[in-house]
């Protein structure tokens, strides 16, 4: 996803994408981030325990932890709540 996003939207996107283990490069590509920013976001999420580095044989990747579920749920409910009300004019 590209375009102007808030930091919370980027966190959410990384967490959703990393539900299955993902490499650093694929996260950069999918979330449209540069490597410096991606590193910072991943470090933050890892520090908070929302993402962990998993290794499968020779491959290693980032994967969301069960703790991330709470953030994802809260984020989804807040964003879907925006469409609780009609726009206020007839479509």
């Amino acid at each position: 996803m590209s375009g102007r996003r808030t930091v919370y939207e980027i966190y959410w996107e990384i967490l959703i994408y990393c539900k299955s283990p993902r490499s650093f490069t694929s996260i950069i590509n999918r979330c449209d981030l540069n490597s410096k920013n991606a590193q910072e976001y991943l470090e933050f999420l890892t520090g908070k325990g929302y993402i962990s580095l998993v290794t499968d044989g020779e491959k290693s990747g980032y994967q969301s932890t069960p703790a991330a579920g709470e953030y994802i749920e809260l984020f989804s409910s807040l964003y879907q709540k925006l469409f609780d009300k009609t726009p206020g004019f007839r479509l």
Binding site: R4, L78, L82
Partner: protein, 219 residues
């Protein structure tokens, strides 16, 4: 909650798509008519010898040509701004249509985030489009009236004008429909912009909860 959010989101995207499409069509017509009026204005520069007694306003056709040129410019500006917005909306609408009614919760949130990002990216463009649509509507209205004027005389006692009936009806119908379309577009775009601005504010307000969840701020 999700079904309601999904149906509202779908309706909004569909309407926004339709308005953008309508804009594209009318912007193309506006360019074509702008060119046509410019050519007509240049060819009809000379005073009409068949109407004696009336002083032909020397600058009338020049004025019409100038307004037509403005309309042509506004038409181009109108189409360029609409295309930028239209492209983003088409991709979101296509994804929404492809997912059907059984859209996952995460997918819907993803599309909402995309739409918000698209709005943030094109905030200024949408504001410009509202202005261009309004100006376009007014210019086309003026153009329709000016082009249907055959002769206009001004004196200290008042003014007199002669209208060309053959030109008046089609010209007025065309310009009226374009004016109406552009003013309607302007209205709907401004309403949509207001709604999305309100949503951006709501997101700003709810960021506190997300901050707390991430442990960035004390409760």
């Amino acid at each position: 909650m999700m079904t309601n959010a999904l149906s509202l989101f779908k309706t909004e995207i569909r309407h926004f798509f339709l308005i953008s499409l309508l804009n594209l069509v009318f912007a193309a017509i506006a360019i074509a008519i702008g060119v046509q009026y410019m050519v007509t204005a240049i060819l009809a520069q000379a005073p009409d010898p068949f109407i004696p007694g009336f002083l032909v306003i020397p600058g009338l056709r020049v004025f019409t040509g100038a307004v037509a040129l403005i309309c042509f410019g506004l038409g181009i500006s109108w189409i360029l701004t609409t295309v930028r917005i239209f492209e983003g909306i088409v991709t979101i609408k296509d994804d929404l249509d492809n997912d059907g009614d059984t859209i996952a919760d995460e997918r819907l949130t993803c599309l909402i985030v995309r739409m918000l990002a698209h709005y943030r990216d094109n905030r200024r463009t949408i504001r410009t489009m509202i202005l261009v649509c309004t100006l376009g509507g007014i210019c086309f209205f003026v153009l329709g009236i000016a082009n249907s004027l055959k002769v206009l005389t001004l004196s200290s006692g008042g003014f007199a004008f002669t209208l060309d009936n053959l030109l008046l009806i089609p010209a007025m119908l065309l310009t009226l429909s374009i004016s109406l379309a552009s003013l309607l577009s302007s209205y709907y775009f401004s309403r949509f912009a207001d709604v999305w601005e309100r949503r951006l504010r709501e997101i700003g307000d709810s960021e506190c909860a997300l901050k707390q969840k991430l442990g960035l701020e004390e409760a």
